[in-house]
Symmetry: C2
Subunit: 333 residues, 2 copies
C-alpha cells in the first residue's frame, strides 16, 4: 500500500481515469448464465473478477455479480439477471468527486464509462478510499500552509517552493499584529510586565481558536455540517470560548497579579483583572474565528483548511494582544 | 454514512466486537456446492452474502466466495473448494489494529472468531475504512488538544471537559515563554521596538515548526516513516527551516530596520541583523522540534499527534522570542 499511497497523493486533483484498469470480465447481454460460467472457468484472471460487466455494442447496460450467476438458471440471459442502469463513473470525473460518491456506496468495484456510456474499464473501491485517507491526512498540514501534495518523500526544493509563500503570508499577518502591539509602545514602556504577557494572550487565544477550527473542519470533512446548523455550532464555540477564556483568564489573571506585585508594578490587582477580561474576550472571539474562517474559505471556493490556521492566528493575535494592551492603556494610564 | 460515522467516532478505542454482525451464510464443510447453491436460493438475505463461512463444529475453517461456487462442480464439498485457514479478526481486537490490518488487505468482509476459533460473525471492510477516515480527520484537532472523540455534535460540557485541560497545559507553557520574555524586561524597556517583534518571531517559528510537524505526522499516518529514515527527514527539515528562516528573516530584518529607524532607535541596522539571525536560528530549531516532538510522543507510547502543536509552540516561542531578546541584549546593550 505504501507505494500506491505515495503515487495517489502526488496529484490529488487528478481524474478518475488514471485509476482505471481494464475490466477482467465483459460479456454481451445476450449471453446466458451458462456461457458466463464457461467464461469464468476459462478466465485466467478469475481471482480478479468481482462483477461481470454487461454490454450492448460496447455500451455498459448492466452488472452481474457472482451471486447472480449462482442464483440464475443456466439458460437465463444476462439481460434478465443483471442489475440494469448500474452506477458508473464518467471518464474525466474529478477524483475528489468520485471519492465522495464511493463513500456513500461502498461497492468493491466501479465501472467507468465515456460520455456515450461505453465501458472503459473499472476502478477498485479501496483505491478511492485510500485517496480519502491520503487527502484527509493532509488537512493538518494544509492549515499551516503545507500543500496536500507534499509528503515525507517530497524533495527539499519542491517543499520549499510550496511552503515558503505561505510563510511570507504568515509574516505579513505577523506584521499586522506587530503594528497593533507597536501602537501601544508607550503603554509597554510604562508597564513592561505587559510584554511578558503578550505570548500568553496570543498563545491562549490562538490555541482556543485552533480547537474550534479543527472541529469545524472535521465537521466539513465528515459531512456533518450538511445536517448540523452552522448557527448552532457558532453559538456552541462562542460559549466554549467564553467558558475556557474565563477559567484560563482567572489563572492567568492571578499569575499577572503575582508577577506584577513582585515586579513592583502599581495596580497589580487591576493588571490581573485586565488579563482576565482580555482573555475572556479574546477566547470568545477565537471561537467565532474558528468557525467563520474555514466556512468563509469554503464560501469563496477555496479549500476550507488551506492556510486556515495562518488566517485564524492573525485574528486571534490581534484580538488577544490588542485587547490586553488596549484595556491596560484605558484602565491604567 | 453520516449517522454511522458519528457512532464510529464516539468511542475510538473500542473493540472490533461492536462492529460484528451475524454472518448471513454459515455452512458445514461437508456440504456440497450444490447444497450451497440451494442455501443461497432459499436465503432471504442473499443480497448481503459476499462469502460463505465454512465451519467444522462451529470453528471457522474456510471461506467460499461466490466465484468459487460458480467454478465448482455440484458434487464438490465446500472443504475442497474453500480457501482454508482464512484471515479472521480475533474477538477483542482493538479497532485501530483491525483498521491497520484491513488497510493492507482490502477484503469486503472479514470474519470474526473467538479465542477457540469459533465464528462469531463478520465485519464489513468499509466500516473499518470509515474508522480510518474518522480517526485521521481528528488529527488536526488532536494537535491542539481536541480529543479524537469530539465532533461537531458533542455537547458543550463534554467538549469543555475534554478541551480545557489542554488549554491549562498550554497556559503553563505560555508562562514559561512569558518568564523568558520577562527576563529581558530591561532590554525591552530600552529598545521597545523589540516588543512589537515578539509576535513576529513567535508566529514565524511556530508556523514553520507546525509545517514540519504536519509532514512528520502525515508520514507516520501513511506508514511512510517505516521506510524513510528519520535522520534524513530531520536533515531535510533542518535545511528547510534554515532556508525559510533566512528568506523570511531578510524581509523581517528589513522591516525591523525601517521600523526602528522611524521610531528613532539607535542601531536600527544592527536591530535588523538581530532579527535576521534570530529568525534563521528559530526556524532552523523549529524544523528539529517539528520532527522530534511527534516521534518523542510516539516513543513514550502516546498518540504522536496529541497536543503536539502545544508542545511544539512552547519550544518555538521560547526559541524565537528568547533568541531575539538575547541577541539584542548581547549585541546592543
Amino acid at each position: 500500500a505504501g507505494a500506491s499511497t505515495q503515487a495517489a497523493a502526488s496529484d490529488i486533483d487528478a481524474r478518475i481515469d488514471e485509476l482505471v484498469v481494464p475490466a477482467p470480465a465483459i460479456l454481451e447481454s445476450t449471453k446466458t448464465a451458462a456461457e458466463a460460467v464457461a467464461f469464468l472457468v476459462a478466465s485466467e484472471s478469475v481471482a480478479e473478477i468481482t462483477y461481470i460487466f454487461v454490454v450492448d455494442a460496447g455500451r455498459l447496460v448492466g452488472v452481474v455479480g457472482m451471486r447472480d450467476i449462482v442464483l440464475a438458471k443456466p439458460g437465463q440471459r444476462l439481460a434478465e439477471i443483471m442489475v440494469g442502469e448500474p452506477f458508473a463513473f464518467k471518464s474525466g470525473t474529478d477524483i475528489d468527486a468520485a471519492v465522495r460518491a464511493a463513500l456513500a456506496r461502498h461497492y468493491p468495484v466501479y465501472p467507468v464509462v465515456d460520455d456515450e456510456g461505453r465501458l472503459l474499464g473499472s476502478v477498485r473501491g479501496w483505491q478511492l478510499f485510500e485517496r480519502v485517507v491520503v487527502e484527509v491526512s493532509g488537512q493538518a498540514g494544509a492549515q499551516v500552509g503545507v500543500s496536500r501534495e507534499e509528503q515525507v518523500t517530497t524533495p527539499i526544493l519542491s517543499a520549499f517552493r510550496m511552503r515558503h509563500p505561505w510563510l511570507q503570508v504568515n509574516l505579513l499577518t505577523a506584521f499586522v499584529a506587530a503594528f497593533v502591539v507597536g501602537m501601544f509602545e508607550d503603554t509597554i514602556t510604562q508597564i513592561v510586565a505587559l510584554a511578558a504577557f503578550l505570548p500568553v494572550l496570543a498563545g491562549q487565544s490562538g490555541n482556543t481558536g485552533c480547537q474550534a477550527l479543527a472541529i469545524t473542519l472535521r465537521g466539513l470533512t465528515l459531512g456533518q455540517l450538511d445536517e448540523y446548523p452552522v448557527g448552532k455550532l457558532l453559538r456552541k464555540e462562542i460559549l466554549l470560548g467564553a467558558l475556557n477564556g474565563f477559567v484560563v483568564g482567572i489563572v492567568a489573571g492571578v499569575a499577572m497579579w503575582l508577577y506584577a506585585s513582585m515586579s513592583g508594578e502599581a495596580n497589580a490587582v487591576m493588571l490581573g483583572v485586565v488579563i482576565l477580561v482580555a482573555m475572556l474576550g479574546a477566547c470568545t472571539g477565537s471561537g467565532i474565528f474558528g468557525v467563520v474562517v474555514p466556512l468563509t474559505l469554503k464560501r469563496f471556493g477555496a479549500d476550507p483548511a488551506m492556510a486556515s490556521s495562518i488566517f485564524l492566528t492573525t485574528f486571534t493575535d490581534i484580538l488577544g494582544m490588542g485587547l490586553m494592551l488596549f484595556l491596560a492603556s484605558w484602565v491604567l494610564l
